[in-house]
Symmetry: C2
Subunit: 110 residues, 2 copies
């Protein structure tokens, strides 16, 4: 079954703009060390590290140690929960979305 290892709510994890920027950076760069991420922000290493552990608790990132560096990479899969949640409301702003979501569900069964 789908592993539900999330210690923290995904909705809460993406609520902070800094964390969304981290997600963006990791989506572009595939893999980045902590200091590589920190250099992109105007805050200390400790703060970025805290955001990373929140993302990790939500299952949104993975990390591996290479030498003295810790490399972080994105795991976008948990974002699907947001997608599913949104699908229930998409009819309010787009009539086409409902049908597209149904199509998607069918395709996943194949």
């Amino acid at each position: 079954m789908g592993e539900n290892n999330q210690l923290r709510d995904v909705f809460e994890a993406i609520a902070d703009p800094t964390r969304r920027r981290i997600i963006r950076l990791l989506a572009e760069a595939k893999e980045l060390p902590l200091h590589g991420l920190t250099s992109q922000f105007e805050m200390g290493r400790t703060a970025v590290s805290k955001h990373l552990s929140i993302l990790k608790d939500a299952g949104l990132i993975l990390d591996r140690k290479v030498g003295r560096e810790t490399l972080f990479l994105l795991n976008a899969a948990p974002l699907r929960e947001i997608q599913d949640w949104l699908a229930s409301y998409s009819r309010f702003w787009n009539h086409h979305m409902l049908r597209l979501n149904e199509l998607l569900a069918d395709e996943n069964k194949e």
Copy 2:
């Protein structure tokens, strides 16, 4: 242009599970007074009222006074921002989504 009256971040507004439940209730019931919502939760009227004002600041609900009641109704449109944000990452968990999102963009131009 699209009116951007949001005093508060939509991502932040949907981060709380109570507020997501409020959204759900309003989507089902169309319009509800404060006491009608409060009866669904195990918290006081004041707390629910605070959640409602956060949702209102994010542009997610509207309200109108009728007699001594204040009726609240859902405005799901701002959720589109979340949808747009997700679209950039959907390729990570579903190859078909990218094409569907492109189709959507085309349909909106019609």
